[in-house]
Amino acid sequence: MILDEEVFAVLMAVVIIGSVLGIVNIIHISSGESFTAIGLLNEDCKIGTYPKQVLENTNITLCIYVYNHMGRPVYYKVVYKIGGEKDLPTNTSPSSMPEVMSWRGVLDNDENHTFKILIPIPSYEKSFDNKTALIFELWIYDTSSDKWVYTGEWVHLYIQVLKRS
């Protein structure tokens, strides 16, 4: 035999594997998990060096990162709340504290937004044991029910709010 059978079999195997991979790539057979993500960055939009002590009734600048991997465009809002350790949200329920501010936007699939936010630190009668949590929850708009739905994702930053003497 001029063409060795084993060599031919190996060549055929390589061609078949290449063909299958090509078809999968074209038809996009994927069972990828859909998710969204939120991140908190400092005023330079970098991780680290977050403010620790803030004077009441002042504003601080932070940066928010939002990522969409839902397989469709999403209308999102980042809700800012202030609370204590016990007021943190869970991955199933948002914080019970009232909304202070929110920022909205639209993200295409596999797209992310990083934007600066100027957040107020109001004075509270009630102190949160020197551990005030700045809570940022990610909500997305459910177009089928026409309601905002909490994604279960949040970020928080503990600060100490200093009272004016």
Binding site: L11, M12, V15, S19, P73, G105, L107, T143
Partner: protein, 146 residues
């Protein structure tokens, strides 16, 4: 006389109720108005994206408008742009199904083409190999060993 008065009273009451309803409808906070405007656009954008229509430029415009309205609620420029996006979406929706069918035909034809490559290799490779093998040796002289 009394009947006319009653009719007028009922008419006045009805008009007052309608007026109050309109005021209530538009007295919601500006963000909920944005939400209701954007939700219809988002539904259509989701549909268009599911039909593989490229809507990334429209998404960026909607995002810019929302950010603008957050800073300056009720700004006519942004609301106008959202309205024009809605019109553009309407036009795209009518072509969406055709685009989807054409894309699917191209995709599955390519997949079938790639699927036929191993068959073609199985049939043609030995023949091509033999053809080249004989062609490179065509000037060879065969000699019988003694």
């Amino acid at each position: 006389m009394i009947r006319t008065f009653l009719y007028l009273l009922m008419l006045t009451l009805s008009l007052t109720i309608i007026h109050q309803m309109i005021i209530l409808a538009y007295s919601g906070d500006s963000m909920s108005e944005i939400d209701s405007l954007v939700s219809t656009i988002m539904k259509d954008l989701e549909y268009l994206e599911s039909r593989e229509v490229n809507v990334s430029s429209l998404i960026h415009r909607v995002n810019e408008d929302i950010k603008g309205l957050e800073k300056d609620p009720g700004n006519a420029t942004y609301i106008k742009d959202l309205e024009s996006i809605r019109e553009e979406i309407k036009a795209l929706k009518s072509d969406a199904e055709n685009i989807y069918i054409i894309n699917n035909i191209i995709r599955y034809s390519t997949a079938v083409g790639i699927g036929l490559v191993p068959v073609a290799v199985y049939i043609l490779l030995p023949r091509i190999y033999l053809y080249i093998w004989y062609r490179t040796r065509r000037r060879w002289i065969v000699q019988v060993r003694k």
